[in-house]
Point group: C2
C-alpha cells in the first residue's frame, strides 16, 4: 500500500457472511485494521479465526459486537442481508453518527431475484440515508462483485461503481476500492444507487442464462 495512505479502522457490520469476509480479507491484506462485527461476539471471533488462517501473520483483525465495532471504527461497512437492513441500521444509528457508512446491500426480492425491486426510498442506500439522517454519509458500493472471488488472490474482472452523499466520502470509499484490488468509479449522488443495486439483478439473470457465477461489468472508453 502507498505509504502516504492512511491505515483505517474498518468495521464490517454483519462481517461473518461471505461479503463481509471477502472484503475483510482484501483490506486486511492492504494493512487496514479490521473490526469484524456480529450480533454475537463469538460468531465474529469464529470469522476472525478463520480469516487469520488465510492471512499473513500480524494482520490486524478483531472480533466485536456490531455496536462496539462501529463505535471504534473510522469507517463502517454494512453487509447484512436486505431482510436485516432496516433493523440493523435502527440499532446502530447513534454509533454511526459522524461516520461514513458503505452500504453493500442489494434489496433483492427473494422470489424474483432477477427483477429489479427497490424500497420506496428509491434504493437500499437511500433507505439507509433516510434512517440515519444527515449525521452519517451513506455511500453505495461493492454490490456487483462476486464475493467468492474476493477470497481468491487473482484479479477480479468487475469494476466498482461508487455513489453516495458527498464527493469527499466517495473519494475515501474509492481509495478503499483500490486497496481491495479493484477499479472504482465515481458514479455520483446517492440517487444513482438504484442503478448500481439494480444491476445486481441483471447480472444474476445473466449468470443464470449463461450458467456461470462470474458476470460483472467494466467501464469502457476511459483510460484507467
Amino acid at each position: 500500500m502507498d505509504s502516504s495512505r492512511k491505515i483505517m479502522k474498518i468495521a464490517i457490520i454483519g462481517g461473518t457472511g461471505k461479503e463481509g469476509r471477502g472484503l475483510a480479507y482484501r483490506w486486511a491484506q492492504a494493512g487496514h485494521h479490521i473490526l469484524i462485527g456480529s450480533r454475537m461476539r463469538e460468531k465474529a471471533q469464529s470469522a476472525v479465526d478463520d480469516l487469520k488462517t488465510l492471512l499473513p501473520e500480524g494482520s490486524l483483525l478483531e472480533a466485536l459486537e456490531n455496536s462496539a465495532a462501529v463505535e471504534k471504527c473510522d469507517i463502517a461497512v454494512l453487509t447484512v442481508p436486505y431482510s436485516a437492513h432496516r433493523e440493523t441500521l435502527d440499532l446502530l444509528k447513534e454509533n454511526l453518527k459522524g461516520k461514513i457508512l458503505i452500504d453493500v446491500t442489494v434489496p433483492l426480492n427473494p422470489t424474483k431475484v432477477t427483477r429489479v425491486s427497490m424500497p420506496k426510498e428509491g434504493s437500499a442506500a437511500q433507505e439507509a440515508q433516510a434512517i440515519l439522517g444527515e449525521d452519517t454519509s451513506v455511500v453505495a458500493a461493492f454490490q456487483n462483485i462476486s464475493y467468492e472471488n474476493l477470497m481468491k488472490n487473482s484479479p477480479l474482472d468487475c469494476d466498482v461503481l461508487v455513489c453516495g452523499s458527498g464527493k469527499e466520502a466517495r473519494q475515501i470509499v474509492l481509495s478503499l476500492v483500490e486497496d481491495a484490488g479493484l477499479i472504482g468509479w465515481d458514479a455520483g449522488v446517492i440517487n444513482n444507487a438504484v442503478v448500481v443495486e439494480g444491476l445486481t439483478s441483471i447480472l444474476i439473470g445473466l449468470n443464470i442464462q449463461h450458467k456461470v457465477y462470474s458476470a460483472g461489468i467494466r467501464i469502457t472508453g476511459i483510460n484507467r
Copy 2:
C-alpha cells in the same frame, strides 16, 4: 448479414436526430429497410438524403411521417427527446398495436443530467408500456451508446442491455443489436429498464469527470 435472418422494415420515430440517424445508418448497412419518421415528412426526407450520401447505393431508406412509418413497419424504434416521449406515444398508440417498440429514451433531467431521475412508472420504458397497453411490446435498449460513434465504422466499445416485455420480443431486439454491430445481453423484464436508462446518467457523469465522450460498459465474466 446471416442469410437466414429476416430483413425487417424498421420505423425510426423521430429519426432525424443523432440517435435515429446513427441506428438507421447501422441497420441500413445490415440490409434492413429503414423508414425514417418525423412529424414533418420533409425533415425525414432531408435525413434520408444525408444518410444516402454515406451508405452504399441500393440501401433501403424511406422518408415518412411518423404515423405512416409506424403503420408500414415490422418493428418501431422511438428516438425522441424525453420531453416529447408521452405526446409522441399518445399520437402513435393505435399505429403501434401488435408491434414491438424499442424505446431508446432516457428520462434525463435537463438541469441535472448526472442524477438518475425516473418518471412515476419507474422508467421511460415502463411509462411507454403504460401508455400503449398490452397490445404493444415495449423493449428498452441502446440507451448507453455514444451515438456519434454509431456513424463511424469502427467497433463500438459498449455493450447493449436489452430489457422488456416478453422474452421473444427481447430476442428479436437482440438480433437487431447484433445487426448494428454491437454485443447485446438479455437484461430481463421491463422493470429492469431503470438500471439501463439510469446508467446513462452515470456514464455522462464519468464523461464529464474524465473529459471524454466515450464512457460505456462491457459485461465481463461470460464467454461471448
